[in-house]
């Protein structure tokens, strides 16, 4: 790794998490460099989702530190991390099911004056202007995600893959610059999967958003990610380009019985 002045977008060092006697994460250290799409792979139960939960502030680690652009954010609650520009999506998408797709996006934008207490009865004009700007921005994000035609549909009416896109949209609305994606491809049909992959790549290329992606679909990882970390039984067992990681004997062993086709 070349020495750089800028700290990585995200760095995890020595993170440990135990659930009772079970060690879910054992001194895990990894880095996500600024502007990269980094992959996190590993067999089921490796601790990937636990690590995500710890990075995003949902679980406190038993040891170790999380740094966001060099700043120690270990143990900060999710909403504070959200305000710092770190957003996550869930393995099983979580949306406000009784609100429309558009409203789901609008509610994720950072606080504006309309949310404060006396404002709805005062400053009406300013609120209306803000509302319109917010609506336009949300529609723009939906356009980008190819979901504009579903703007007024209730979020519960979308397919699983579309829900994943709405989650990504919510992250974009919040102005996140580092986004953790938990299995964006799981249960998504091939066509939509291509679309999701292109959207992620475009957001990274055009807006400079950094992604850390948990994914089992190694072809997708190969397409998207410049660097991959492999976790197994709570430890980092390999890191490097997808080609290097795929050929690593330890990785092959961890995915016992699975064979990789290196394209």
């Amino acid at each position: 790794m070349t020495a750089r002045a800028d700290p990585p977008a995200l760095s995890v060092s020595g993170v440990t998490k135990r659930f009772g006697g079970f060690v879910a994460l054992d001194c895990v250290s990894l880095e996500v460099s600024e502007g990269s799409i980094t992959g996190l792979i590993g067999p089921n139960g490796a601790g990937k989702s636990t690590l995500f939960a710890i990075i995003a502030g949902f679980l406190p680690p038993d040891g170790g530190t999380i740094r966001l652009r060099g700043e120690d954010v270990t143990g900060e609650p999710p909403w504070r991390l959200h305000a710092r520009g770190l957003a996550r999506t869930f393995q099983i998408p979580r949306l406000f099911s009784r609100m429309t797709v558009l409203e789901n996006l609008m509610v994720a934008a950072p606080n504006q004056s309309g949310e404060r207490l006396p404002a709805p009865w005062l400053a009406r004009r300013q609120i209306r202007r803000e509302e319109e700007a917010l609506r336009a921005r949300a529609l723009g994000v939906l356009e980008r995600l190819n979901l504009a035609r579903h703007a007024e549909a209730p979020a519960s009416a979308l397919s699983g893959g579309q829900k994943k896109l709405v989650e990504l949209g919510r992250a974009l609305m919040s102005g996140a610059s580092v986004i953790l994606l938990d299995e964006p491809a799981a249960g998504v049909n091939r066509t939509l999967l291509r679309e999701i992959a292109e959207i992620i790549a475009a957001l990274n290329r055009e807006e400079g958003i950094t992604f850390l992606v948990i994914e089992h679909d190694l072809d997708l990882v190969a397409d998207l990610c410049t660097r991959v970390w492999c976790l197994a039984e709570g430890r980092v067992i390999a890191a490097g380009s997808i080609g290097e990681v795929r050929n690593d004997p330890q990785v092959a062993e961890a995915y016992l019985g699975m064979t990789f086709d290196v394209h």
Binding site: A56, F58, P78, W79, H82, A83, R94, L95, F96, S97, R98, M99, E103, M106, V107, A108, P110, N111, Q112, G114, E115, R116, L117, A119, P120, I127, E130, E131, L134, R170, S174
Partner: protein, 294 residues
């Protein structure tokens, strides 16, 4: 037919309007904070009594005293939240329910202390009802129905058109997701109390105008308000408003003399209608007419 309109339909709508205002607040509180707010009825009585004090003390009309009522219920709700409910936010809903029962007793004790147990009435002249083609309606009943409709309309605009309303709906949809999405949950909770307190103050003044003021006046309608909120699907303000109107009508119409002059239900049992509706809802459609959150 005219007798039905004059003696059952109009009183039913008036009572329904009052239930609706109270039930909307209960439903909002349940949606955002997930607990049954038992102090709601006594908050209502507080509003009515403060309006009485303002209108007699300042010599203003009862309608003009509504802001004074709200000026008492808003801080009362916010203080109860800060002192009691906020500390219990992470505990079981039943614990919050019990604590709100405690707040209810405190509020009622304050009312007894300052106003005594004797029923009081708002100063109002005795006026003949307005007559339209045989339909007789008291002017104050028109204002009560219109006032409740206006409150519901303003609330609708607030919930559907403003960012604050959207944040409230998000919180009632999924509180944890709202919190992590950066919704200012503390501000949303305060806003919820303010809205519920304003609505319940209006309901209290209306109830006092319709009948009279007693320290237990709010507690007496609390059960019907809960029944209305559950009938409409708890956590759904529109359902609560609808449920309130249905329940008010059901209570008044339950005494209609269908069987040659004998009332359907003796007036003494009128208040049992709310229980029947509540039990029937929970048995037949526990999620409420509009699919609430239970």
């Amino acid at each position: 037919m005219l007798a039905f309109v004059n003696f059952y339909l109009i009183p039913g709508l008036v009572l329904g309007a009052i239930y609706a205002l109270s039930a909307i607040g209960l439903s909002l509180i349940y949606g955002v904070m997930r607990f049954a707010h038992f102090a709601h009825g006594d908050l209502m009585a507080l509003g009515a009594y403060v309006a009485l004090a303002a209108s007699t003390g300042l010599g203003i009309s009862v309608w003009a005293s509504i802001p004074f009522a709200a000026a008492a219920t808003i801080p009362a709700a916010l203080v109860a939240d800060a002192l009691f409910y906020a500390r219990l936010r992470r505990s079981l809903p039943a614990v919050l329910l019990i604590s709100s029962f405690g707040v209810a007793l405190m509020l009622r004790a304050l009312i007894y202390l300052f106003f005594g147990p004797t029923p009081l009435t708002f100063p109002r002249p005795i006026v003949p009802p307005l007559v339209f083609e045989g339909v007789r309606i008291q002017a104050r009943h028109i204002w009560i129905i219109l006032g409740a409709a206006l409150c519901a309309f303003i609330l609708h605009l607030l919930l559907s058109r403003t960012r604050a309303g959207r944040a409230m709906r998000a919180m009632s949809d999924d509180p944890d997701l709202a919190r992590i999405s950066g919704v200012a949950t503390a501000a949303v909770i305060r806003l919820t109390w303010v809205i519920a307190a304003v609505l319940v103050a209006v309901a209290g003044v209306f109830l006092g105008l319709d009948t009279q003021l007693q320290p237990v006046m709010g507690f007496n309608v609390l059960l019907a308000s809960f029944a209305a909120a559950i009938l409409g699907g708890i956590g759904r303000p529109w359902g609560a408003a609808f449920g309130g109107v249905i329940l008010g009508l059901a209570e008044e119409c339950s005494t209609y003399p269908l069987r040659d002059g004998a009332p359907l239900l003796e007036p003494t049992y009128k208040s049992a209608v709310a229980f029947v509706v509540l039990i029937a809802t929970l048995l037949l459609r526990p999620q409420g007419l509009f699919r609430g959150m239970i």
